[in-house]
């Protein structure tokens, strides 16, 4: 690791995301002081004032570590992703949005015009004159621009090279703390960074492996929404109770936080190690628990999952095999 000057530089940026990743970083409590003690925070819009032109003025590769959260939804996101990639030695795809699109990625199911229409013309929006934003507008002082929406939301690695992935929505704070410790060790020369493309700050198994619930042979006659089951058995596997739980396909690392407290896993840690397509793995998992052998009966049971695409791709749609494989997206 080459480090110029006294302290290595740290940056964090949010693209199309909700801000939860930043909260998760702050949730590391006093560990955040270690970041300050070991790094010079040069760019972190949510926490400090910095201008894009300050980053543009930096030398290429002068930032040691950039945590980039959020997907690439507009040309501003793309510009910052490319800029920070140039300026950074280690680019971490941080959080589910950057890794696989997350909830904003579900917008890829609709054409961009419909998305804008929904935002400006829903029943809760009072917009009688159908006023829509424009990309550019002339004022006496010059031309004003707003970022232009891309056709689709892309995960970060479809736009720039990424060194490490850190999944989670948001990544668990104890995992962030561990990663901070790791990077500090790397800076001090006490440890080595995992190879490029590694997933850090997460396990390599599935949520089921960390789940404390009892598992038997699963065979179910009905899928049910969790709120329709009362009471939920506190000790038995949720999938066994007919609740579509995404644990079997989801990467471990969260200590099975949701199933442990009685909520089904929704899959925020993304595909487990070796899973090429998250949704396909879940289709397999759900199919193997269905206790029916005729088309009619299987269809009746499947009706219990009202939105199968949303169920199996809630976090992974933009990163899924089918959606992410479109040539139209692959513009680095």
């Amino acid at each position: 690791m080459t480090v110029n000057g006294s302290k290595p530089k740290f940056a964090m940026y949010w693209a199309a995301s909700c801000g939860g990743c930043e909260i998760a970083v702050l949730n590391t409590h006093e560990k955040i002081l270690d970041v300050d003690a070991n790094f010079d925070v040069v760019f972190w819009p949510v926490a400090m004032d910095a201008k894009y032109k300050d980053v543009e003025a930096m030398e290429d590769g002068s930032i040691l570590l950039t945590l980039f959260n959020g997907g690439i939804r507009n040309d501003e996101n793309e510009h910052l992703a490319k800029l920070l990639r140039r300026k950074s030695q280690i680019m971490v795809s941080f959080g589910s949005c950057a890794c696989e699109g997350c909830i904003p990625g579900l917008a890829n199911l609709s054409p961009v015009g419909d998305i804008v229409h929904a935002a400006y013309n829903t029943i809760t929006t009072d917009n009688p004159n159908e006023i829509y934003p424009r990309i550019s507008y002339d004022v006496p002082e010059g031309e004003l621009h707003i970022p232009k929406l891309a056709k689709v939301l892309r995960p970060l690695d479809l736009v720039v090279d990424v060194d490490c992935y850190m999944p989670g929505c948001p990544p668990e704070s104890h995992q962030i703390a561990a990663v901070i410790d790791l990077v500090i060790k790397v800076v001090k020369g006490e440890a080595e960074l995992p190879p490029k493309g590694s997933v850090i700050g997460a396990g390599d198994s599935t949520v089921c492996d960390e789940c404390p619930r009892a598992r038997n042979v699963k065979s179910i006659k009905e899928f049910k929404r969790i709120q329709d089951i009362a009471p939920v058995d506190p000790d038995l596997c949720l999938l066994e109770q007919g609740i579509p739980c995404n644990g079997p396909a989801t990467r471990s690392g969260c200590n099975a936080r949701c199933p442990a407290v009685g909520a089904q896993c929704i899959g925020c840690y993304g595909p487990a190690e070796g899973v090429m397509d998250y949704g396909a793995r879940l289709i397999t998992a759900f199919s193997s628990v269905i206790d029916a052998n005729t088309t009619e009966e299987i269809d009746r049971i499947l009706d219990g999952i009202p939105d199968p695409t949303g169920q199996v791709y809630r976090f992974n749609l933009a990163g899924s095999l089918l959606k992410a494989n479109r040539d139209a997206w692959k513009v680095k």
Binding site: P111, D277, A280, I283, S287, I290, T309, Y313, L322
Partner: protein, 168 residues
């Protein structure tokens, strides 16, 4: 979209114990059927991971045919039922992703049913030919533009209405 020059690319996943032999039989019996199917032999239709289907579709296949033993005749007792369940759920997911579910087909064919294998294959190829190519390189917006002709699908709409709001 009907393009008469369009030759569909179909990937077929066949079971070693029944339909793969059915295709062999169709071949040795010199039956004629559409040559658009590339067969991949699995040991059982239960081996079919939905990933295979998604991968095929994402890399240029226009349709995927899955074939297995008739219900109750699985060499591994009941794995073809698992294939059936996966197939039914996969079709629902594909529909949600904007892909015609008819592009994936499940056929039961025993080792003796060479004729059935041939006719089902030909029927499937014709069905896909009618559906047209899976335009996976294009996103929904472009596809819609194609469908609607050259209507404005840009989201920068009605600049005049915006000007009303901003004093010059």
């Amino acid at each position: 979209m009907t393009d008469h020059n369009f030759e569909p690319t179909i990937i077929g996943f066949t079971c070693n114990w029944c339909s793969y032999r059915a295709s062999d039989l169709a071949g040795t019996a010199r039956m004629k059927y559409a040559p658009n199917v590339r067969l991949i032999r699995l040991m059982c239709s239960g081996r079919l991971d939905p990933t295979f289907v998604l991968r095929a579709l994402s890399e240029g296949a226009d349709g995927v045919m899955i074939t297995g033993c008739h219900p109750g005749e699985c060499h591994y007792i009941e794995q073809n039922y698992k294939a059936l369940r996966r197939f039914l759920l996969l079709r629902r997911v594909l529909t949600g992703l904007g892909i015609e579910p008819e592009r994936v087909k499940l056929v039961w064919a025993s080792a003796a049913e060479g004729a059935r294998f041939a006719s089902e294959t030909t029927a499937f190829v014709e069905e896909i030919r009618k559906l047209g190519p899976l335009n996976w390189g294009k996103d929904e917006g472009e596809r819609r533009k194609d469908e609607e002709g050259n209507k404005n699908s840009s989201f920068i709409i009605q600049p005049s209405s915006f000007e009303k709001e901003v004093p010059a």
